[in-house]
């Protein structure tokens, strides 16, 4: 197992772990978004979908454990790499003009922290009901509508989804490259795939609080 230790200890290995766990999380995020869009089909469809997920019993817990494991690895590697990267440049330049980095690539760390805060709130909001004013374990559709009646909560969701979009804008293209899966190119196709994915995920999730606010969903 020493090879695994060496792999995890290296910057390249840790980043590969981030890419694999990131891709798992992206898979979840896309599936979750598609599930949520059933809000637009109607209350019955949404409630039935939620009841179906709960009916999977042990399988649901396996999926949750997998996602939790992926998130823990992703965040641990992110934290440790950030420490290493900061230690590598202790003295800042008096003047520095970035030539290629993007808003998305520069906000991966703080955006990730915002996503973590969002995750904690979101689970307490729609899964356990801890932060929800009128939570019901069966009427999922109603939970969403009532939950998004609060402008502060909706604003927080919209901010978090913007952060998610930015995170994927950089992360989804970086992931291909970290794993060495892309083709050599000066105008990489993965870059466009990542941009499309970020746009779809951002718009898909954001559409729900916006529709509640506009009265399209009630």
């Amino acid at each position: 197992m020493r090879w695994l230790r060496a792999f995890w200890d290296s910057t390249v290995g840790k980043k590969a772990v981030m890419a694999v766990t990131g891709i798992l999380l992206v898979g979840f995020v896309v599936a979750h978004m598609l599930g949520n869009l059933q809000m637009f089909i109607g209350a019955d469809a949404m409630n039935r979908y939620a009841a179906f997920l709960k009916s999977t019993g042990e399988l649901l817990w396996v999926a949750r454990a997998g996602l939790l494991g992926a998130a823990v690895l992703h965040i641990t590697a992110a934290y440790q790499l950030t420490q290493m990267n900061r230690a590598a440049r202790t003295d800042a330049y008096a003047k520095r003009v970035p030539a290629a980095s993007t808003l998305a690539s520069r906000t991966m760390r703080w955006g990730g922290v915002l996503l973590l805060a969002f995750l904690v709130f979101h689970i307490g909001h729609f899964t356990t009901g801890t932060f929800h004013p009128a939570f019901s374990h069966t009427m999922v559709y109603g939970n969403v509508i009532l939950g998004f009646r609060s402008p502060v909560v909706s604003a927080f969701y919209l901010a978090a989804m913007a952060a998610l979009g930015l995170h994927l804008y950089h992360g989804a293209w970086a992931g291909f490259r970290t794993l060495g899966l892309a083709k050599r190119s000066s105008a990489p196709r993965e870059r466009r795939i990542a941009q499309g994915l970020a746009l779809i995920v951002w718009a898909g999730f954001s559409s729900i609080p916006v529709a509640v606010w506009l009265g399209i969903l009630n």
Partner: protein, 257 residues
Amino acid sequence: MHLTLHVWRQASPDQPGRLVEYAAPDISPDMSFLEMLDVVNERLIQRGEEPVAFDHDCREGICGSCGLMINGSAHGPMKLTTACQLHMRSFKDGDAIWIEPWRAKAFPVVKDLVVDRSAFDRIIQAGGYISAATGTPQDANALPIPKPDADWAMDNAACIGCGACVAACPNASASLFTAAKVTHLGALPQGQPERERRALAMVAQMDEEGFGGCTLHGECQEACPKGISIDAIMQLNRDYIRASATKVEVAEWTGAA
């Protein structure tokens, strides 16, 4: 041209440095950036002051000795150009120019603008070579290499080890430097026997030296005076992951305990 320079002055590695302002009047636009610094230094010497230390050797863009952060860009504002090949006509009369050393923990400042880049030598020593029998060389055509592979190897062999990639990277990562050598040798048949070992050992040494990791900002590619592409880093990642999957012990290869 009349310029104002803000130059990093630091007497020795353990003393604190600071930016010092110098007026640089009567500079010809035909001078190279280093010739401009020579003129400034001659004037400093005439005034009995310590000249500004900076690295240089070939002054024709091939040795990789020169390396200055000029107005926040590695090697200055011209793309694909080393500081020695940059000319003062790239600046305007009256410009203020900030000149700083490469900043990285693995590149400690020796004096003023001179940094110690021997960390790069140790990365190369760890695996940036091939084991070939010496003696009478075989006929060059005995070993056919497809043109695209030869080109790709050559693109990456163009690295002059100046350190601009490290200087430009927000993480002070040496990924592009390391990747260029791994890719150059890995593209050729002669590089195959040590391919796994090379990726493992060079990455281990790169981390050991205290360089950061790659986060795909792409700053290194913009800064590289030889136009080396971040596609090389993808190749490095691929080789490293593949080598790790074969469970080769890094210690076994590097001989470290």
